[in-house]
Protein backbone atom coordinates (compact mmCIF):
# COMPACT_ATOMS: atom_id res chain seq x y z
CA UNK A 1 0.00 0.00 0.00
CA UNK A 2 1.40 3.33 -1.07
CA UNK A 3 2.15 5.96 1.53
CA UNK A 4 0.08 8.42 -0.48
CA UNK A 5 -2.94 6.16 -0.37
CA UNK A 6 -2.57 5.56 3.37
CA UNK A 7 -2.39 9.27 3.94
CA UNK A 8 -5.46 9.77 1.76
CA UNK A 9 -7.39 7.21 3.85
CA UNK A 10 -6.40 8.79 7.16
CA UNK A 11 -7.27 12.20 5.79
CA UNK A 12 -10.67 11.05 4.47
CA UNK A 13 -11.69 9.64 7.83
CA UNK A 14 -10.44 12.75 9.59
CA UNK A 15 -12.38 14.88 7.14
CA UNK A 16 -15.55 12.96 7.91
CA UNK A 17 -15.17 13.58 11.64
CA UNK A 18 -14.60 17.25 10.96
CA UNK A 19 -17.72 17.49 8.78
CA UNK A 20 -19.71 15.95 11.60
CA UNK A 21 -18.07 18.21 14.15
CA UNK A 22 -18.98 21.26 12.09
CA UNK A 23 -22.68 20.40 12.49
CA UNK A 24 -22.42 19.48 16.16
CA UNK A 25 -20.48 22.62 17.06
CA UNK A 26 -23.04 24.15 19.39
CA UNK A 27 -23.63 20.86 21.18
CA UNK A 28 -19.93 20.35 21.70
CA UNK A 29 -19.30 23.87 22.93
CA UNK A 30 -22.37 23.51 25.15
CA UNK A 31 -20.91 20.39 26.70
CA UNK A 32 -18.21 22.58 28.21
CA UNK A 33 -20.76 24.11 30.58
CA UNK A 34 -20.72 21.17 33.01
CA UNK A 35 -16.96 21.07 33.59
CA UNK A 36 -16.99 24.83 33.92
CA UNK A 37 -19.62 24.66 36.68
CA UNK A 38 -17.57 21.97 38.35
CA UNK A 39 -14.57 24.17 38.38
CA UNK A 40 -16.24 27.39 39.40
CA UNK A 41 -18.52 26.01 42.11
CA UNK A 42 -16.55 23.05 43.40
CA UNK A 43 -13.26 24.84 42.98
CA UNK A 44 -14.43 27.86 44.93
CA UNK A 45 -16.28 25.88 47.62
CA UNK A 46 -13.46 23.43 48.32
CA UNK A 47 -10.89 26.17 48.24
CA UNK A 48 -12.66 28.29 50.82
CA UNK A 49 -14.07 25.47 53.02
CA UNK A 50 -10.76 23.67 53.51
CA UNK A 51 -8.74 26.76 53.18
CA UNK A 52 -6.66 25.39 50.34
CA UNK A 53 -4.82 28.00 48.43
CA UNK A 54 -5.15 28.01 44.65
CA UNK A 55 -7.50 25.02 44.61
CA UNK A 56 -9.02 26.29 41.37
CA UNK A 57 -5.59 26.29 39.73
CA UNK A 58 -4.97 22.82 41.08
CA UNK A 59 -8.27 21.51 39.79
CA UNK A 60 -8.33 23.14 36.34
CA UNK A 61 -5.83 20.77 34.64
CA UNK A 62 -7.82 17.88 36.12
CA UNK A 63 -11.04 19.21 34.66
CA UNK A 64 -9.40 19.68 31.27
CA UNK A 65 -8.12 16.08 31.39
CA UNK A 66 -11.60 14.92 32.35
CA UNK A 67 -13.11 16.63 29.30
CA UNK A 68 -10.44 15.10 27.09
CA UNK A 69 -11.21 11.67 28.51
CA UNK A 70 -14.96 11.94 27.99
CA UNK A 71 -14.64 13.33 24.52
CA UNK A 72 -12.02 10.78 23.44
CA UNK A 73 -13.70 7.66 24.76
CA UNK A 74 -16.99 8.83 23.34
CA UNK A 75 -15.34 9.53 19.99
CA UNK A 76 -13.81 6.06 19.90
CA UNK A 77 -16.94 4.26 20.99
CA UNK A 78 -18.83 6.08 18.23
CA UNK A 79 -17.56 3.31 15.94
CA UNK A 80 -20.42 1.42 17.55
CA UNK A 81 -22.93 3.92 16.16
CA UNK A 82 -21.31 3.58 12.76
CA UNK A 83 -22.04 -0.10 12.93
CA UNK A 84 -25.57 0.55 14.13
CA UNK A 85 -26.30 3.00 11.31
CA UNK A 86 -24.61 0.89 8.66
CA UNK A 87 -21.89 3.36 7.70
CA UNK A 88 -19.27 0.96 9.03
CA UNK A 89 -19.99 -1.33 6.08
CA UNK A 90 -19.18 1.47 3.70
CA UNK A 91 -15.74 1.91 5.25
CA UNK A 92 -15.01 -1.77 5.81
CA UNK A 93 -15.78 -2.61 2.18
CA UNK A 94 -13.45 0.08 0.84
CA UNK A 95 -10.14 -1.17 -0.57
CA UNK A 96 -8.09 0.63 2.04
CA UNK A 97 -5.98 -0.31 5.00
CA UNK A 98 -8.23 -0.64 8.01
CA UNK A 99 -5.52 0.45 10.37
CA UNK A 100 -5.43 3.75 8.46
CA UNK A 101 -9.19 4.02 8.86
CA UNK A 102 -8.92 3.54 12.61
CA UNK A 103 -6.07 6.04 12.70
CA UNK A 104 -8.07 8.60 10.72
CA UNK A 105 -11.00 8.11 13.05
CA UNK A 106 -8.66 8.60 16.01
CA UNK A 107 -7.14 11.78 14.57
CA UNK A 108 -10.60 13.14 13.85
CA UNK A 109 -11.80 12.39 17.36
CA UNK A 110 -8.68 13.75 18.96
CA UNK A 111 -9.02 16.97 16.99
CA UNK A 112 -12.49 17.41 18.44
CA UNK A 113 -11.26 16.57 21.93
CA UNK A 114 -8.36 19.01 21.64
CA UNK A 115 -10.64 21.79 20.46
CA UNK A 116 -12.70 21.24 23.60
CA UNK A 117 -9.63 21.04 25.81
CA UNK A 118 -8.11 24.20 24.40
CA UNK A 119 -11.41 26.08 24.62
CA UNK A 120 -11.78 25.06 28.24
CA UNK A 121 -8.23 26.13 28.94
CA UNK A 122 -8.87 29.55 27.46
CA UNK A 123 -12.28 30.02 29.08
CA UNK A 124 -11.04 29.06 32.55
CA UNK A 125 -8.17 31.46 32.06
CA UNK A 126 -10.61 34.22 31.18
CA UNK A 127 -12.70 33.32 34.25
CA UNK A 128 -9.74 33.98 36.47
CA UNK A 129 -7.84 30.70 36.72
CA UNK A 130 -4.24 31.72 36.64
CA UNK A 131 -1.85 29.70 34.46
CA UNK A 132 1.89 29.99 34.71
CA UNK A 133 2.80 31.06 31.20
CA UNK A 134 1.64 31.26 27.63
CA UNK A 135 4.39 28.82 26.68
CA UNK A 136 3.02 26.38 29.23
CA UNK A 137 -0.43 26.70 27.75
CA UNK A 138 0.96 26.04 24.27
CA UNK A 139 2.91 23.01 25.49
CA UNK A 140 -0.32 21.63 26.95
CA UNK A 141 -1.70 21.16 23.46
CA UNK A 142 0.62 18.31 22.38
CA UNK A 143 -0.01 16.68 25.75
CA UNK A 144 -3.74 16.87 25.10
CA UNK A 145 -3.04 15.15 21.79
CA UNK A 146 -1.26 12.20 23.41
CA UNK A 147 -3.94 11.82 26.09
CA UNK A 148 -6.67 11.96 23.44
CA UNK A 149 -5.10 9.40 21.11
CA UNK A 150 -4.65 6.93 23.96
CA UNK A 151 -8.26 7.01 25.13
CA UNK A 152 -9.83 7.29 21.72
CA UNK A 153 -8.06 4.13 20.61
CA UNK A 154 -9.21 2.48 23.82
CA UNK A 155 -12.74 3.53 22.84
CA UNK A 156 -12.32 2.05 19.35
CA UNK A 157 -11.03 -1.20 20.82
CA UNK A 158 -14.06 -1.38 23.14
CA UNK A 159 -16.47 -0.53 20.33
CA UNK A 160 -15.31 -3.54 18.32
CA UNK A 161 -16.30 -5.72 21.25
CA UNK A 162 -19.52 -4.22 22.58
CA UNK A 163 -22.73 -4.90 20.71
CA UNK A 164 -25.41 -2.87 22.37
CA UNK A 165 -26.41 0.37 23.97
CA UNK A 166 -26.25 -1.28 27.37
CA UNK A 167 -22.63 -2.03 26.61
CA UNK A 168 -22.13 1.64 25.94
CA UNK A 169 -23.73 2.56 29.28
CA UNK A 170 -21.50 0.04 31.02
CA UNK A 171 -18.40 1.62 29.50
CA UNK A 172 -19.52 5.04 30.59
CA UNK A 173 -20.27 4.10 34.19
CA UNK A 174 -17.72 1.37 34.89
CA UNK A 175 -14.79 2.78 32.99
CA UNK A 176 -15.04 6.51 32.44
CA UNK A 177 -16.24 7.59 35.89
CA UNK A 178 -13.71 5.47 37.83
CA UNK A 179 -10.94 6.72 35.56
CA UNK A 180 -11.85 10.31 36.42
CA UNK A 181 -12.33 9.71 40.13
CA UNK A 182 -9.12 7.74 40.47
CA UNK A 183 -7.00 10.18 38.56
CA UNK A 184 -5.96 12.78 41.05
CA UNK A 185 -7.92 15.35 39.09
CA UNK A 186 -9.56 16.52 42.33
CA UNK A 187 -7.06 15.63 45.07
CA UNK A 188 -3.31 15.62 45.70
CA UNK A 189 -1.57 12.24 45.46
CA UNK A 190 0.70 12.55 48.46
CA UNK A 191 -1.60 11.85 51.39
CA UNK A 192 -3.56 8.90 50.00
CA UNK A 193 -3.91 5.53 51.76
CA UNK A 194 -1.92 2.77 50.04
CA UNK A 195 -4.75 1.04 48.17
CA UNK A 196 -5.89 4.29 46.67
CA UNK A 197 -2.40 5.42 45.80
CA UNK A 198 -1.80 2.18 43.90
CA UNK A 199 -5.06 2.47 42.01
CA UNK A 200 -4.32 6.06 41.12
CA UNK A 201 -0.85 5.20 39.88
CA UNK A 202 -2.23 2.40 37.69
CA UNK A 203 -4.55 4.85 35.99
CA UNK A 204 -3.11 6.33 32.77
CA UNK A 205 -5.28 9.43 33.16
CA UNK A 206 -3.36 10.33 36.32
CA UNK A 207 -0.28 10.91 34.20
CA UNK A 208 -2.29 13.10 31.86
CA UNK A 209 -3.56 15.21 34.74
CA UNK A 210 -0.08 15.50 36.18
CA UNK A 211 1.49 16.41 32.83
CA UNK A 212 -1.08 19.16 32.32
CA UNK A 213 -0.42 20.40 35.85
CA UNK A 214 3.23 20.61 35.03
CA UNK A 215 2.71 22.68 31.89
CA UNK A 216 -0.16 24.82 33.19
CA UNK A 217 0.70 25.56 36.83
CA UNK A 218 4.32 24.56 36.82
CA UNK A 219 4.23 21.88 39.49
CA UNK A 220 3.48 18.14 39.49
CA UNK A 221 3.97 15.34 41.97
CA UNK A 222 4.97 12.85 39.28
CA UNK A 223 7.99 13.94 37.22
CA UNK A 224 7.01 15.18 33.77
CA UNK A 225 9.35 12.72 32.03
CA UNK A 226 7.59 9.78 33.71
CA UNK A 227 4.23 11.25 32.67
CA UNK A 228 5.31 11.60 29.06
CA UNK A 229 6.74 8.08 28.89
CA UNK A 230 3.60 6.53 30.41
CA UNK A 231 1.22 8.56 28.24
CA UNK A 232 3.13 7.80 25.04
CA UNK A 233 3.38 4.09 25.81
CA UNK A 234 -0.32 4.01 26.62
CA UNK A 235 -1.19 5.76 23.35
CA UNK A 236 0.99 3.45 21.26
CA UNK A 237 -0.38 0.34 22.95
CA UNK A 238 -4.04 1.24 22.65
CA UNK A 239 -3.60 2.41 19.05
CA UNK A 240 -1.97 -0.90 18.13
CA UNK A 241 -4.71 -2.91 19.87
CA UNK A 242 -7.55 -0.71 18.62
CA UNK A 243 -6.26 -0.77 15.04
CA UNK A 244 -5.77 -4.52 15.16
CA UNK A 245 -9.23 -5.24 16.55
CA UNK A 246 -10.79 -2.83 14.09
CA UNK A 247 -9.05 -4.62 11.22
CA UNK A 248 -10.60 -7.92 12.24
CA UNK A 249 -14.12 -6.61 12.60
CA UNK A 250 -16.99 -8.30 10.78
CA UNK A 251 -20.34 -6.65 10.30
Amino acid sequence: MGAMLSFQTVYTMWLREMLRFKRAKSRIVGSLATPLFFLIILGTAMGSSYNIENYKEFMAPGIIAMVLLFSSIFGGVSVMWDREFGFLKEILIAPVNRFCIALGKAFGGVTTAMIQGVLLMIITNVFGVHYKSLLGMLLSIPIMFIIGIGFISLGIALATKIESHEGFQMVMSFLTMPLVLLSGAFFPLSKLPDWLRIAVHLNPLTYGVEALRFTLIGESEIPIVVCLVVLTSFAITTTAIGGWLFGRMEV
Binding site: R16, L19, R20, E90, A94, E250
Partner: protein
Protein backbone atom coordinates in the same frame (compact mmCIF):
# COMPACT_ATOMS: atom_id res chain seq x y z
CA UNK B 1 -12.45 -16.27 -17.57
CA UNK B 2 -14.89 -16.46 -14.70
CA UNK B 3 -15.41 -13.34 -12.62
CA UNK B 4 -16.76 -15.31 -9.69
CA UNK B 5 -16.35 -18.95 -8.74
CA UNK B 6 -17.52 -20.55 -5.53
CA UNK B 7 -16.68 -24.02 -4.41
CA UNK B 8 -19.00 -25.59 -1.83
CA UNK B 9 -19.18 -22.27 -0.05
CA UNK B 10 -21.00 -22.51 3.27
CA UNK B 11 -21.82 -20.11 6.06
CA UNK B 12 -23.48 -21.05 9.29
CA UNK B 13 -24.46 -18.78 12.18
CA UNK B 14 -24.38 -20.68 15.47
CA UNK B 15 -25.29 -23.91 13.74
CA UNK B 16 -27.93 -22.38 11.46
CA UNK B 17 -26.83 -22.89 7.86
CA UNK B 18 -27.60 -19.75 5.87
CA UNK B 19 -25.58 -20.65 2.78
CA UNK B 20 -25.28 -24.34 2.10
CA UNK B 21 -22.52 -25.69 -0.16
CA UNK B 22 -23.21 -23.35 -3.04
CA UNK B 23 -21.31 -23.81 -6.30
CA UNK B 24 -21.75 -21.08 -8.84
CA UNK B 25 -19.59 -19.48 -11.47
CA UNK B 26 -20.30 -16.14 -13.03
CA UNK B 27 -18.66 -15.28 -16.32
CA UNK B 28 -16.83 -12.04 -16.89
CA UNK B 29 -19.25 -9.42 -18.17
CA UNK B 30 -22.28 -11.41 -17.13
CA UNK B 31 -25.35 -9.97 -15.45
CA UNK B 32 -26.20 -12.60 -12.90
CA UNK B 33 -29.30 -12.74 -10.73
CA UNK B 34 -29.91 -14.33 -7.35
CA UNK B 35 -33.59 -14.83 -6.89
CA UNK B 36 -35.14 -16.08 -3.71
CA UNK B 37 -37.57 -15.45 -0.85
CA UNK B 38 -36.75 -13.77 2.47
CA UNK B 39 -34.07 -15.59 4.38
CA UNK B 40 -32.96 -17.64 1.38
CA UNK B 41 -29.35 -16.64 1.96
CA UNK B 42 -28.87 -14.13 -0.86
CA UNK B 43 -27.43 -11.37 1.31
CA UNK B 44 -25.24 -13.83 3.15
CA UNK B 45 -23.81 -15.04 -0.16
CA UNK B 46 -23.09 -11.47 -1.22
CA UNK B 47 -21.47 -10.74 2.13
CA UNK B 48 -19.25 -13.79 1.62
CA UNK B 49 -18.25 -12.81 -1.91
CA UNK B 50 -17.60 -9.21 -0.93
CA UNK B 51 -15.34 -10.38 1.96
CA UNK B 52 -17.55 -8.84 4.64
CA UNK B 53 -17.83 -12.22 6.36
CA UNK B 54 -15.68 -15.32 6.19
CA UNK B 55 -17.05 -18.69 5.01
CA UNK B 56 -17.48 -21.48 7.54
CA UNK B 57 -16.20 -23.86 4.86
CA UNK B 58 -15.65 -23.89 1.14
CA UNK B 59 -13.88 -21.31 -0.98
CA UNK B 60 -14.54 -18.65 -3.55
CA UNK B 61 -12.73 -16.30 -5.89
CA UNK B 62 -13.68 -12.93 -7.30
CA UNK B 63 -11.75 -11.74 -10.34
CA UNK B 64 -9.30 -14.55 -9.65
CA UNK B 65 -8.59 -13.46 -6.05
CA UNK B 66 -9.38 -15.73 -3.13
CA UNK B 67 -12.06 -14.15 -0.97
CA UNK B 68 -10.40 -15.24 2.28
CA UNK B 69 -6.67 -15.07 1.64
CA UNK B 70 -6.66 -12.17 -0.75
CA UNK B 71 -9.60 -10.16 0.50
CA UNK B 72 -7.83 -6.82 0.02
CA UNK B 73 -7.42 -7.51 -3.71
CA UNK B 74 -11.07 -8.54 -3.92
CA UNK B 75 -12.21 -5.31 -2.27
CA UNK B 76 -10.18 -3.26 -4.73
CA UNK B 77 -12.13 -4.54 -7.73
CA UNK B 78 -15.67 -4.72 -6.38
CA UNK B 79 -18.47 -2.33 -5.63
CA UNK B 80 -21.31 -3.22 -3.29
CA UNK B 81 -24.71 -1.70 -2.78
CA UNK B 82 -25.90 -3.22 0.47
CA UNK B 83 -29.46 -4.04 1.31
CA UNK B 84 -29.79 -1.61 4.21
CA UNK B 85 -28.61 1.98 4.33
CA UNK B 86 -24.88 2.48 4.81
CA UNK B 87 -24.85 6.25 4.45
CA UNK B 88 -23.71 8.73 7.07
CA UNK B 89 -26.96 10.46 7.90
CA UNK B 90 -25.27 13.38 9.62
CA UNK B 91 -23.69 14.36 6.32
CA UNK B 92 -25.18 15.65 3.10
CA UNK B 93 -25.64 13.49 0.03
CA UNK B 94 -22.80 15.30 -1.67
CA UNK B 95 -20.45 14.78 1.27
CA UNK B 96 -21.26 11.08 1.33
CA UNK B 97 -20.38 10.75 -2.33
CA UNK B 98 -17.24 12.82 -1.95
CA UNK B 99 -15.95 10.69 0.93
CA UNK B 100 -16.64 7.58 -1.12
CA UNK B 101 -14.66 8.95 -4.04
CA UNK B 102 -11.77 9.72 -1.73
CA UNK B 103 -11.81 6.23 -0.17
CA UNK B 104 -11.56 4.79 -3.66
CA UNK B 105 -8.71 7.10 -4.61
CA UNK B 106 -10.50 9.17 -7.26
CA UNK B 107 -8.85 12.47 -8.10
CA UNK B 108 -10.71 15.71 -7.35
CA UNK B 109 -11.62 16.23 -11.00
CA UNK B 110 -12.87 12.70 -11.50
CA UNK B 111 -14.82 12.87 -8.23
CA UNK B 112 -16.67 15.92 -9.40
CA UNK B 113 -17.44 14.41 -12.79
CA UNK B 114 -18.68 11.12 -11.39
CA UNK B 115 -20.69 12.78 -8.64
CA UNK B 116 -22.53 14.92 -11.18
CA UNK B 117 -23.06 11.88 -13.35
CA UNK B 118 -24.52 9.61 -10.68
CA UNK B 119 -26.59 12.34 -9.02
CA UNK B 120 -28.10 13.04 -12.39
CA UNK B 121 -28.86 9.37 -12.88
CA UNK B 122 -30.82 9.04 -9.65
CA UNK B 123 -32.27 12.53 -9.99
CA UNK B 124 -30.99 13.79 -6.70
CA UNK B 125 -28.90 16.72 -7.90
CA UNK B 126 -31.31 19.21 -6.33
CA UNK B 127 -31.18 17.44 -2.94
CA UNK B 128 -27.45 16.80 -2.79
CA UNK B 129 -26.83 19.63 -0.35
CA UNK B 130 -29.30 18.35 2.24
CA UNK B 131 -28.47 16.12 5.19
CA UNK B 132 -29.21 12.48 4.42
CA UNK B 133 -31.34 12.22 7.55
CA UNK B 134 -33.89 14.43 5.84
CA UNK B 135 -34.15 12.09 2.83
CA UNK B 136 -37.09 9.77 2.21
CA UNK B 137 -36.51 6.01 2.13
CA UNK B 138 -36.56 5.94 -1.66
CA UNK B 139 -34.11 8.82 -1.89
CA UNK B 140 -31.74 7.08 0.49
CA UNK B 141 -31.87 4.01 -1.70
CA UNK B 142 -31.15 6.03 -4.81
CA UNK B 143 -28.22 7.81 -3.25
CA UNK B 144 -26.85 4.48 -2.12
CA UNK B 145 -26.96 3.11 -5.65
CA UNK B 146 -25.41 6.27 -7.01
CA UNK B 147 -22.53 5.87 -4.60
CA UNK B 148 -21.97 2.20 -5.45
CA UNK B 149 -21.59 3.05 -9.11
CA UNK B 150 -19.23 5.95 -8.59
CA UNK B 151 -15.92 4.12 -8.74
CA UNK B 152 -16.74 1.88 -11.74
CA UNK B 153 -15.83 -1.46 -10.21
CA UNK B 154 -15.05 -4.61 -12.20
CA UNK B 155 -17.62 -6.62 -10.31
CA UNK B 156 -20.67 -4.94 -8.86
CA UNK B 157 -22.91 -6.51 -6.24
CA UNK B 158 -26.38 -5.05 -5.92
CA UNK B 159 -28.43 -6.37 -3.02
CA UNK B 160 -32.05 -5.61 -3.89
CA UNK B 161 -31.14 -2.49 -5.86
CA UNK B 162 -34.64 -1.30 -6.65
CA UNK B 163 -36.56 -2.45 -3.59
CA UNK B 164 -39.29 0.05 -2.81
CA UNK B 165 -38.52 2.43 -5.66
CA UNK B 166 -41.26 3.90 -7.80
CA UNK B 167 -41.68 2.32 -11.26
CA UNK B 168 -40.13 5.23 -13.09
CA UNK B 169 -36.95 5.31 -11.05
CA UNK B 170 -36.76 1.55 -11.28
CA UNK B 171 -36.74 1.76 -15.06
CA UNK B 172 -33.95 4.35 -14.95
CA UNK B 173 -31.89 2.17 -12.67
CA UNK B 174 -32.44 -0.87 -14.87
CA UNK B 175 -31.31 1.14 -17.86
CA UNK B 176 -28.18 2.26 -16.11
CA UNK B 177 -27.40 -1.24 -14.81
CA UNK B 178 -27.71 -2.54 -18.36
CA UNK B 179 -25.53 0.24 -19.72
CA UNK B 180 -22.83 -0.37 -17.11
CA UNK B 181 -22.92 -4.04 -17.98
CA UNK B 182 -22.93 -3.66 -21.79
CA UNK B 183 -20.78 -0.59 -22.30
CA UNK B 184 -18.35 -0.80 -19.43
CA UNK B 185 -18.25 -4.58 -19.30
CA UNK B 186 -18.88 -4.63 -15.57
CA UNK B 187 -19.87 -8.02 -14.18
CA UNK B 188 -22.98 -7.57 -12.09
CA UNK B 189 -24.53 -9.81 -9.47
CA UNK B 190 -27.89 -8.66 -8.20
CA UNK B 191 -30.37 -10.13 -5.80
CA UNK B 192 -34.02 -9.47 -6.16
CA UNK B 193 -37.51 -10.46 -5.21
CA UNK B 194 -38.84 -9.06 -8.45
CA UNK B 195 -39.41 -11.63 -11.14
CA UNK B 196 -39.65 -9.00 -13.82
CA UNK B 197 -36.38 -7.51 -12.68
CA UNK B 198 -34.55 -10.79 -12.96
CA UNK B 199 -36.29 -11.60 -16.22
CA UNK B 200 -35.56 -8.21 -17.73
CA UNK B 201 -31.98 -7.75 -16.68
CA UNK B 202 -30.24 -11.01 -16.04
CA UNK B 203 -28.31 -13.20 -18.45
CA UNK B 204 -28.63 -16.06 -16.00
CA UNK B 205 -30.56 -16.57 -12.79
CA UNK B 206 -29.86 -18.74 -9.80
CA UNK B 207 -32.93 -19.52 -7.75
CA UNK B 208 -31.91 -19.73 -4.12
CA UNK B 209 -33.95 -21.35 -1.40
CA UNK B 210 -32.93 -22.35 2.11
CA UNK B 211 -29.29 -21.62 1.42
CA UNK B 212 -29.11 -23.75 -1.72
CA UNK B 213 -29.22 -23.06 -5.42
CA UNK B 214 -32.22 -25.01 -6.62
CA UNK B 215 -32.06 -23.96 -10.28
CA UNK B 216 -29.64 -22.02 -12.44
CA UNK B 217 -30.02 -21.09 -16.09
CA UNK B 218 -30.96 -18.40 -18.59
CA UNK B 219 -34.42 -16.99 -17.90
CA UNK B 220 -35.79 -18.34 -21.20
CA UNK B 221 -34.32 -21.75 -20.53
CA UNK B 222 -35.79 -21.83 -17.07
CA UNK B 223 -39.14 -20.96 -18.51
CA UNK B 224 -39.05 -23.30 -21.49
CA UNK B 225 -37.98 -26.18 -19.29
CA UNK B 226 -41.37 -25.91 -17.70
CA UNK B 227 -43.42 -25.41 -20.83
CA UNK B 228 -44.50 -22.05 -22.07
CA UNK B 229 -48.10 -22.12 -20.82
CA UNK B 230 -49.69 -22.52 -17.43
CA UNK B 231 -53.13 -23.87 -16.67
CA UNK B 232 -54.56 -22.84 -13.35
CA UNK B 233 -57.41 -24.87 -11.89
CA UNK B 234 -59.50 -24.02 -8.88
CA UNK B 235 -61.02 -27.07 -7.20
CA UNK B 236 -63.50 -27.51 -4.37
CA UNK B 237 -61.11 -28.18 -1.50
CA UNK B 238 -57.38 -28.22 -0.80
CA UNK B 239 -57.65 -32.00 -0.43
CA UNK B 240 -59.03 -32.26 -3.92
CA UNK B 241 -56.23 -30.07 -5.14
CA UNK B 242 -53.63 -32.30 -3.52
CA UNK B 243 -55.21 -35.36 -5.01
CA UNK B 244 -55.40 -33.84 -8.45
CA UNK B 245 -51.82 -32.67 -8.16
CA UNK B 246 -50.69 -36.25 -7.48
CA UNK B 247 -52.58 -37.54 -10.48
CA UNK B 248 -51.01 -34.84 -12.65
CA UNK B 249 -47.56 -35.86 -11.52
CA UNK B 250 -48.26 -39.47 -12.42
CA UNK B 251 -49.65 -38.65 -15.83
CA UNK B 252 -46.43 -36.88 -16.71
CA UNK B 253 -47.22 -33.25 -17.35
CA UNK B 254 -44.12 -31.12 -17.51
CA UNK B 255 -44.68 -29.76 -14.04
CA UNK B 256 -47.41 -29.20 -11.54
CA UNK B 257 -47.76 -27.59 -8.16
CA UNK B 258 -50.49 -26.85 -5.69
CA UNK B 259 -51.46 -24.28 -3.13
CA UNK B 260 -54.71 -24.17 -1.18
CA UNK B 261 -57.39 -25.31 -3.62
CA UNK B 262 -55.49 -24.27 -6.71
CA UNK B 263 -53.39 -26.45 -8.99
CA UNK B 264 -50.86 -25.02 -11.42
CA UNK B 265 -49.94 -27.14 -14.40
CA UNK B 266 -47.19 -26.20 -16.81
CA UNK B 267 -47.66 -27.46 -20.33
CA UNK B 268 -46.17 -27.00 -23.78
CA UNK B 269 -49.43 -25.86 -25.41
CA UNK B 270 -52.47 -25.12 -23.31
CA UNK B 271 -54.90 -25.54 -26.23
CA UNK B 272 -53.90 -29.16 -26.56
CA UNK B 273 -53.58 -29.84 -22.87
CA UNK B 274 -56.96 -28.60 -21.68
CA UNK B 275 -58.95 -31.61 -22.96
CA UNK B 276 -56.39 -33.87 -21.26
CA UNK B 277 -56.82 -31.99 -18.01
CA UNK B 278 -60.60 -32.36 -18.15
CA UNK B 279 -60.22 -36.06 -18.85
CA UNK B 280 -57.91 -36.42 -15.87
CA UNK B 281 -60.37 -34.55 -13.68
CA UNK B 282 -63.22 -36.73 -14.87
CA UNK B 283 -61.43 -40.03 -14.28
CA UNK B 284 -60.17 -38.98 -10.84
CA UNK B 285 -63.64 -37.71 -9.90
CA UNK B 286 -62.71 -34.11 -9.01
CA UNK B 287 -64.88 -31.11 -9.72
CA UNK B 288 -63.28 -28.14 -11.47
CA UNK B 289 -64.65 -24.77 -10.29
CA UNK B 290 -62.77 -22.63 -12.74
CA UNK B 291 -59.94 -22.79 -15.21
CA UNK B 292 -57.52 -20.09 -16.39
CA UNK B 293 -54.71 -20.17 -18.91
CA UNK B 294 -51.73 -17.89 -19.35
CA UNK B 295 -48.12 -17.74 -20.53
CA UNK B 296 -45.70 -18.97 -17.89
CA UNK B 297 -43.56 -16.51 -15.95
CA UNK B 298 -40.55 -16.78 -13.71
CA UNK B 299 -43.01 -16.92 -10.85
CA UNK B 300 -44.10 -20.31 -12.02
CA UNK B 301 -40.50 -21.46 -12.17
CA UNK B 302 -40.11 -20.30 -8.65
CA UNK B 303 -43.18 -22.15 -7.46
CA UNK B 304 -41.98 -25.19 -9.31
CA UNK B 305 -38.61 -25.25 -7.59
CA UNK B 306 -39.47 -24.06 -4.12
CA UNK B 307 -43.06 -25.18 -3.76
CA UNK B 308 -44.29 -21.67 -3.00
CA UNK B 309 -44.65 -18.26 -4.55
CA UNK B 310 -41.82 -15.82 -4.08
CA UNK B 311 -44.24 -13.16 -2.89
CA UNK B 312 -46.00 -15.27 -0.32
CA UNK B 313 -44.16 -13.77 2.61
CA UNK B 314 -44.03 -10.23 1.31
CA UNK B 315 -46.68 -7.83 2.46
CA UNK B 316 -45.75 -5.10 0.07
CA UNK B 317 -42.49 -3.58 -0.94
CA UNK B 318 -42.79 -0.26 0.78
CA UNK B 319 -43.66 -1.74 4.15
CA UNK B 320 -40.89 -4.25 3.68
CA UNK B 321 -38.34 -1.65 2.76
CA UNK B 322 -39.33 0.55 5.68
CA UNK B 323 -38.88 -2.43 7.91
CA UNK B 324 -35.46 -3.11 6.40
CA UNK B 325 -34.40 0.49 6.82
CA UNK B 326 -35.73 0.66 10.34
CA UNK B 327 -33.82 -2.39 11.44
CA UNK B 328 -30.74 -0.40 10.59
CA UNK B 329 -31.61 2.44 12.94
Amino acid sequence: MNAIVTNQITKSFNGFIAVNEIDISVKEGELFGLLGPNGAGKTTLINLLSTMIRPTSGTGTVNGFDIVHDSASVRAVIGVVFQGSTLDEQLTGLENLDLHGRLYGLSAGLRKKRIDEVLDLVELSHKSGLLVKTYSGGMIRRLEIARGLMHHPKVLFLDEPTLGLDPQTRLHIWDYIRRLNREEGITIVLTTHYMEEADNLCDRIAIVDNGRVVALDKPEKLKSALGSDVIILTLDTPEDAKKFYRVCKETGYVSASTKDQTVYISVKKSEEAVPEVFKTAFTSGTNIQSITMRKSTLDDIFIHYTGRGIRDELVDDITYMKYKLQTKR
